[in-house]
Subunit: 434 residues, 2 copies
Amino acid sequence: MSSDAPAEVRPRVAVVGAGFAGLHVARGLAKAPVEVTILDRANHHLFQPLLYQVATATLSPDQIAHPIRAVFRKQENARTLLADAQAVDLEQGRLSLAREDGGVDHLDFDYLVVATGVTHSYFGHDEWAEHAPGLKSLEDALEIRRRVLRAFELAERNPADADSLLTFVVVGAGPTGVELAGALAEIARKSLRREFRSIDPTSARILLVEGGGRVLPAYVERLSESAKQQLESLGVEVHIGAQVTQVDAEGVVVRMGDLDTKERIESQTVLWAAGVRGSSFADKLGVELDRSGRVPVTADLSLEGHPGVFVAGDLAVIDGESGQVPGVAPAAIQAGKHIARQIGRELEGRSREPFRYRDRGSLATIGWARAVADLRIVRFTGVTAWFAWMAIHVAFLVGFRNRLFVLLGWAWSYVTFRRGARLITKPEADEPLS
Amino acid sequence: MSSDAPAEVRPRVAVVGAGFAGLHVARGLAKAPVEVTILDRANHHLFQPLLYQVATATLSPDQIAHPIRAVFRKQENARTLLADAQAVDLEQGRLSLAREDGGVDHLDFDYLVVATGVTHSYFGHDEWAEHAPGLKSLEDALEIRRRVLRAFELAERNPADADSLLTFVVVGAGPTGVELAGALAEIARKSLRREFRSIDPTSARILLVEGGGRVLPAYVERLSESAKQQLESLGVEVHIGAQVTQVDAEGVVVRMGDLDTKERIESQTVLWAAGVRGSSFADKLGVELDRSGRVPVTADLSLEGHPGVFVAGDLAVIDGESGQVPGVAPAAIQAGKHIARQIGRELEGRSREPFRYRDRGSLATIGWARAVADLRIVRFTGVTAWFAWMAIHVAFLVGFRNRLFVLLGWAWSYVTFRRGARLITKPEADEPLS
């Protein structure tokens, strides 16, 4: 090709959201004849499976987050934009991006991939959000870390209030709830031991409250039972079939299923891991959403009637061979790669393939040397599952530095029982000392 | 002593502020027959000499901060309180601590040590603060990091605004200003290279504006000149004798001393390293402060007329043999140890000694392999000074983990030219993606 040939006009692919799905769409298009723009409201890709370790002070934010821009440094057909997508015109192929000054920028596309994920759902009780933060972003994790560490500090100052300050309630016993509850128990029983003079942190109560019939409901029953026992061995009080009916600044009200009685639990620190709903960008697509605000897609992950628009990751409702594809990182990665492949095929004049989710199993950790693993061909619990969990999570982290520092951080915590990131940082800047 | 002897009533020492001075008072009293309470508004001791590396994305907050409570885990005569000291009654020996609920707790003391440090001074122009953040706390550092990284992101989105977005002004050429300017130049010239598609980060302007006659005015002239040359070799524009007369959202106005002309510099990112004033707690002591709101002390570092009240660290105005003792970490550490020793002597019935500052020299870093060192017996610059700077700073960090992780972080940055903590985190929690 002569060097003064006119620049080839390449199809423009816009990817909204740089989570696992979005990142793998953009990476998968590295060699395709397209121009990729990847947009996110944050400047970093977040390794969400380890986010609870930031919330519980074992890891620092930079260990599990990687600048999106750095991921695509060498991918010349990709550019990264820090941007908040506000609206989309699917007919025109045009995104509207909010500007700082209140104005709007436009971004035209030939293909659109929506991978904006999910956010917390309070089942119609949005007023609970301020009392019971959820865990989706780095900011959420820092807020939870702040509340947990502050509760111990306030109890030391006012031992008379220690009962409610040292009661921690985690709502929802999926993987995140289980991980948070286990880590809270370890903070109280091990990390903070002997550091207080007026209170005994080991006396803290950690309650895990689950409305359904067992912890880790997506796992086989034997592993659910093991997870419950491992939690209880750490001193977590597990309440099954217990529905939260109220959350306020002083605690929660729980309806205990089997007894049909309501119980009030006084707690200054309630964490929400109970439900998710599609992010608000889903509303802009003009399609009917499912009950939790997520987007149903066709077999190739495109939007019904809009073959150039794909939805991937937790936001997509995907029917798999054995029910809905779960909202987990491996599914998002597979969906991202699938979409990149379909765009590539189409540009080569080949037909699309349906998406096939390959479930390679799942792992959840409960604490140091405590975990459950279901690798389909084999299921195991305890320290072996925990090592498998660590190995897999480090392998999937983005960036060599993150892998090295996470491993070192874990090694240090494991040897010392200490947590490396026990900082209370205020959300708003303030003068340093009174 | 029989175990059921009545508990001995020990003198109570209250230490307000857990910076270098406060920490060393409390540690120095470990074997004294006293009860120590150390108060701080933050839960961590901050290693301020490396704070600029958090602001410029090389280190993460947890690498230079250590929970105060963890420092005193094994010191049984010390307790730590997260508290905001609002007022003090020197006659009664009573501190008032603000409560969350608006009320007040009291803390009685026999000895009081005030080590609340200094904050930024805008020379009567407090309205400049929002446009030109200073660098004293972790929150300050994260705010500066956010502004710097965002400026590059916004420029990529709106290349038409790149001129003012990629102009960074650092006001004040003391050690902090020099370190910030050098690090900004390295971010632009090295760390971000090849990551942008619409702008060239290496074209960023970094201006260091100093009202006085030279950079690093506390150093000998030869080192000031070397520092200036090292900054210029990194591409920093150094303006000497240049007084800032206005700061607003779009930039600064500078009066160039030799020309007596005013020049407007359009800049979205102005950082303040120009002046400090005593923290507000100094006002509560009922003594006359110096022009910058700091507290004059007697020869033994106590308050005139109040032998049981000491002031230490940057807040104290201490007359040394060669002028005022500078506001640097080694001076604060020495003052803290001195005060602990005096309290110990007094309880043994011995007389007090005057404080003697031992100046062992000073070092300032400009960038990778660029620094100046004045160790009194020998002065040197460049890579040797830089290694000396690194060795001394790591040696004085609190906590083994911090030392290890800072060293590893530096090694990684040095090999790759990358920065490990390039995260924009929002000050307020928000939903993850649009």
